[in-house]
């Protein structure tokens, strides 16, 4: 597989949210605004790239039977690093994402990529895979966040373009499912065409 398709598969063909449907808990939880979605996506991207890099580096040194605990420790360490760094330098974003940052540890995409890709491929491909998957995730979350923000609050990236409130349901959990469902349908159509 060449490196370009390796990178771009995360956006459309194997998009973690729209196609693989992985990591739905943060997807539905944080995407009340586009900024939150993108922030969450970028935090996950960092964890994905770093854990893919490390897992691919040590893939031969880790005995098969303990690979999952080893991967989880690596992932959890990077998540904690992200958490502390965000708390220190972007406190506002940290507050908005709150509980969902520690939950990156159990985001299926991160462990999924470590297990399915990084533990079998070279360091270079693993980094590119992590980057593509992570940015694909950020793109999906940003898109879902934008749709929910436009419909739910009548704003985009925090700038209000209508007076008053939007459709409240899109800020709440049911709206997340509805918006995600339609986005998946559109992506499917787009993929076939």
């Amino acid at each position: 597989m060449n490196q370009i398709t390796n990178f771009t598969k995360g956006f459309i063909k194997d998009n973690p949210v729209f196609v693989l449907l992985l990591g739905l808990c943060p997807t539905l939880g944080v995407t009340t605004t586009a900024i939150n979605g993108i922030g969450m996506g970028l935090a996950t991207t960092f964890v994905l790239v770093m854990s893919n890099l490390v897992v691919s580096l040590i893939k031969n040194a880790v005995p098969d039977k303990v690979r999952i605990p080893a991967f989880i420790v690596i992932i959890a360490s990077f998540v904690t690093i992200v958490e502390l760094t965000m708390q220190a330098f972007t406190p506002a974003l940290f507050e908005a994402l709150g509980l969902f940052i520690p939950l990156i540890v159990v985001n299926c995409i991160v462990l999924g990529r470590a297990e399915a890709f990084a533990s079998k491929n070279s360091i270079g491909s693993s980094i590119i895979d992590g980057l593509g998957m992570g940015l694909g995730f950020a793109f999906a979350l940003g898109l879902l966040g934008a749709v929910r923000e436009i419909l739910g609050s009548g704003a985009i990236l925090g700038f209000k373009f209508i007076d008053g409130d939007g459709m409240l349901v899109f800020v709440l959990a049911p709206g997340a499912f509805i918006a995600l469902g339609y986005l998946i349908a559109i992506m499917n159509k787009f993929k076939k065409a």
């Binding site: 039977k65 303990v66 080893a70």
Partner: protein
């Protein structure tokens, strides 16, 4: 390099090394970020105090556990050039629609509410979160829901929603959140009075 065999020694050594390296890395990051995190938290508190009190230049912090309370309130006595400006109280309620939330209430001239600000909450977006200043800001009147508390003395301004016989206009469709907000403010006021008596 061939894959390592899953022998007992190999597994123990591998996990040991990984956890040691992870622990060292986290310790390092923690040390680097400790100070910025403390500063960010401090700034947040100071900003919240600034929102509820007039200008000040120094604060004295005391934590007090009210009688029968489940958590302690924090009193911030603000002074400007040695003169008392007012007291900001970090207070909470357990009556919220989604559990406990924290607000800051500022008192000037003894017991007059100078302002309120929501610190952290989990209330429903679009309904209960209108207790946040910027969420309920009305461009026409230039006022937010929580502005109705400003300049009121809880002695003659009953901190209860009108439905319960009080003086507070509840947020539309969020009576529980409004009630909880009043509960938190009342708790701050009661403890403030209590402290005055003790002094």
């Amino acid at each position: 390099m061939a894959k390592k065999e899953s022998s007992f020694v190999n597994m123990v050594v591998t996990l040991f090394v990984i956890t040691i390296v992870a622990a060292l890395a986290l310790g390092g990051v923690y040390n680097v970020t400790k100070e910025p995190i403390a500063i960010a938290k401090r700034l947040k508190i100071e900003r919240a105090i600034g929102e509820v009190l007039p200008e000040f230049d120094s604060i004295i912090e005391t934590k007090i556990l009210p009688e029968g309370g489940r958590d302690s309130l924090t009193f911030y006595e603000a002074t400007k050039q040695g003169e008392m400006v007012g007291t900001a109280v970090r207070t909470y309620t357990d009556e919220g629609f989604s559990g406990r939330f924290w607000i800051m209430v500022g008192f000037v001239d003894g017991d007059i509410i100078s302002g309120t600000s929501v610190l952290e909450h989990k209330e429903t977006p679009g309904l209960g979160d209108k207790m946040e200043k910027k969420k309920s800001f009305n461009k026409k009147t230039g006022k937010s829901w929580s502005d109705q508390f400003n300049g009121k003395n809880p002695m003659d301004f009953t901190l209860k929603v009108t439905k319960d016989g009080g003086d507070v206009d509840a947020i539309t469709a969020a009576t529980i959140s409004s009630r909880a907000f009043c509960d938190a403010a009342q708790r701050a006021y009661d403890e403030l009075k209590n402290q005055e008596k003790l002094d």
